[in-house]
């Protein structure tokens, strides 16, 4: 078999530095949950050495092994030799897709649910119908559910009921009213798929928070950040989405680009690398997580009052993998929550910064493993005594909500939803 060039020369150098020391096993949520060496970075790198040399080919088994990774970066963070496991694995997936195409499951997920705006809406409506009228047979006849392994028939349970109007439709007639005469900043909001389609109240909260703080917000044309496709090796569709987003946002004159999704943030930060275009950095340098923007740039403050006899609501926080290692990624969301006292009381939970197992579409394609990883988290959330578990990544929120759905006294929300609820009543937009 012929030798393969899979990695960029820079990553190849890192890859060669892996000494198989095994330290990544202590930092890999998948290894912790499964105890299987094929699922940790070290095992995959050994396999990749053999793929590169042409000693093994992309079989179904190999594809399954490489698909089973959260790209959480835990291995990279823990590696004494600084090997970026998650980037190497992602490029291996690219080679896999180039060699044998996307597997049927992945294809189904991306084409029907996650690929671009149009198809997402169609699938979104379907999901909504399905959860409302229990028309699973309809979905099945349309060939979506058929594509999932058996345990994924639970998918419907996990995806929250779809709202009638998506975020941008909701905001269409409201944003103009929020025109400010002399705004402090103008920001473009990259909404991400989950907020746009499933949790519009998160977007509304952000609009309210920024408007209340005299910040002008615009919503440029946009699609999916590209991460679900890229992460799974589908660079053709992924790069297409990246390019379109960049073009659209480059047209706007803004001070910052904000996002409420840690994964979108991570994707945007890598845009220059994906496009091999340094000039894109000018744009991507403006991207900032909403929590950091509220704390570090706006320095927001709230005056929530407790009514007589009202008790503070206990809130805890889960660190999304793609936020916790960015500047202010761990501190800003916590600081924001602390500024909501006395209405909310922040409590730290155990394992707050360990991966929840959601990893974008991973929780859809690997529902069982994702749940196994999540268990430690669900337990810690219960033990924290909090009534609300918050996070700053919509997929983590979806996954945690799924795992905690039996716990009727625990809600899972985005940090900004709580923050917006502490604004004066007249500054809060009501949505039906």
């Amino acid at each position: 078999m012929e030798k393969k060039e899979i990695l960029t020369s820079e990553l190849q150098k890192e890859f060669n530095k892996c000494s198989r020391c095994g330290t990544c096993m202590a930092h890999c949520p998948l290894y912790e949950a499964t105890g299987m060496e094929a699922f940790v970075c070290r095992g995959k790198l050994e396999l990749l050495t053999k793929i590169e040399k042409g000693e093994i080919a992309w079989t179904d088994k190999l594809a399954e092994i490489f698909s089973t990774c959260l790209l959480c970066g835990g291995c990279h963070y823990g590696c004494p030799n600084g090997v970026s496991g998650e980037k190497i694995i992602q490029l291996a997936r690219k080679n896999m897709v180039e060699t044998r195409g996307l597997g049927p499951i992945k294809k189904g997920v991306f084409q029907h649910l996650l690929n671009n705006n149009g198809t997402l809406n169609k699938a979104g409506k379907l999901m909504y119908l399905s959860s409302k009228f229990k028309v699973r047979p309809l979905m099945r006849s349309l060939g979506i559910l058929k594509l999932f392994p058996k345990n994924l028939y639970d998918l419907e349970k996990m995806v929250p009921a779809f709202p009638k109007k998506n975020f941008r439709q909701l905001m269409a007639d409201k944003l103009p009213q929020k025109e400010l005469s002399n705004p402090r900043y103008t920001v473009a909001y990259f909404t991400g798929c989950v907020t746009q389609l499933m949790n519009p109240q998160v977007g509304v909260a952000i609009v309210d928070l920024l408007t209340a703080n005299n910040v002008k917000i615009i919503l440029p044309e946009q699609g999916c950040c590209g991460m679900p496709a890229l992460a799974n090796g589908d660079y053709k569709n992924g790069l297409d989405l990246v390019r379109k987003n960049v073009e659209s946002f480059q047209k706007e004159k803004v001070d910052y680009i904000i996002t409420d999704c840690a994964s979108c943030l991570g994707a945007w930060e890598e845009y220059p690398e994906y496009l091999q275009d340094e000039s894109v950095k000018e744009l991507t340098d403006k991207v900032m997580d909403i929590n950091r923007f509220l704390i570090e740039v706006l320095d927001v403050h709230f005056e929530p009052q407790l009514a007589d006899g009202e008790k503070p609501i206990k809130v805890t926080y889960h660190d999304p993998c793609h936020l916790k290692r960015t500047p202010g990624g761990k501190t800003c969301p916590r600081e924001l929550l602390k500024r909501l006292a006395p209405k909310y009381e922040f409590v730290e939970m155990k394992f707050a910064d360990s991966c929840c197992g959601s990893a974008g579409s991973f929780m859809i394609t690997h529902y069982d493993v994702a749940n196994k990883i999540g268990e430690k988290k669900y337990k810690a959330a219960r033990e924290s005594g909090a009534n609300i578990v918050t996070s700053a990544c919509p997929t983590c929120i979806m996954h945690l909500a799924d795992g905690l759905q039996e716990d009727k006294n625990i809600e899972v929300k985005h940090v900004v939803e709580l923050a917006a609820s502490c604004l004066p009543k007249e500054q809060q937009t009501k949505i039906k």
Binding site: G22, M36, L47, G78, P80
Partner: protein
Amino acid sequence: MDRKHIDYFISVLGKDNVLVTEEERICYSYDGTFNRGLPDVVLMPEKTEEVAKIMKYANEIKVPVFPRGAGTGLSGGSVPQDGGIALVLSRMNQIKEISREDLLVVAGPGVVTGKLHKAVEEEGLFYPPDPASSAVCTIGGNIAENAGGPRAFKYGVTRDYVLGLEVVTPTGDIMRTGGKTVKNVTGYDLTRLLTGSEGTLGVVTEVILRLVPKPQTKSTALIAFDKLVDAARAIGSIVANGIIPVTIELMDDTTIHCVEANNKIGLPLDVEAVLLIEVDGKAEQVKSDIEDIAEICRKEGASSVEVATDKAGMDRLWKGRRAVSASVLQLGPTKISEDATIPRSQIPAMVVKLKEIAKKYDIPMPIYGHAGDGNMHPNIVADKDNPEEMARVKKATDEIFEAALALGGTLSGEHGIGLMKKDYMEMAYGKVGVDYLKAIKKAVDPNNILNPGKVF
């Protein structure tokens, strides 16, 4: 492997604990070295009885069994040879008992060392052996290799803490050695024989480990020396003054430069060596010990002394030492970590010799290690895909071992012989010694089933 055999293993272990695809087996074909060997099947037992059944069956069908913990070994000990069974013990990972009264812990062999540390420390107890791989390596692997670690200077190595074992013999019977008492002279000391036997004499399936009370506090000093000989002499002086630090780690100039190039910690670049010294115990004792150490080192010619007593400060000082192993890779892609060990008094002579060898064969060789107990880690950095260089490496390695033995030392302080050093065994042990080892092996493993091809 014959389907019949696979079916038998599945009947014993269940489907999920028997890995047959090539892709999965490849993930158990290595350890922390560049040795490779593909097993025919990977078995992951959860109970002692399952291990016994596997061993019995392996004897029947005459297929070798290679025990494996986390695969972090640095001598090729767990790497299969010519196929066979990789017996992965990481699923036997329960901590069964922690006793404050008897000061002991009972655990499965697959418990990760770092998790055991945490569990006993939560009870106010302390398990001292701390190989640098603690976050991943297993207690079973530690026992098989008699692992050491930085704390060994004061507290000793794994062997000093093993009270008793449950093992499955190479022929598949279950045996207990030692027990829950510190004193025990009933029969031969099989616990000690099995500790450090590198998985060749039995599969460890349960361990009873001795614990000590957790030390109250600790403190760390980073001390730089213009001259390496001064650093070596200072180590002797500290000990001669009746102070036993937990750790005395040494880094030579090559190592310091590598660390600084990668990390910018602020280590001095114009010195020949730095020592990192840690003391522990009661607060007042720690304070006076670290002051005394600083004083002694200054007298012996230290050019700078920095002391930290809080966690953040200590972490900062340790950061450089932790970065060593990765930083030296900038000198080349393959690191061969030797751990020839010599009596403490011979450290200066050994370091001089090592530098000579590095120069003679033109090979980068950063030297660092647990200087307190003479356990040096000269690291040869090379490129394993460059045969010409690897030939020089082989010659240099030969000379390192010769030098260590000539100075009254030994081939390996803590990593074991495995595949990497077995060619040197006769040189170190003599023919009589090696024959004695072989006789023991033959007596307990007549079919040569358990980890064949290792140690000798």
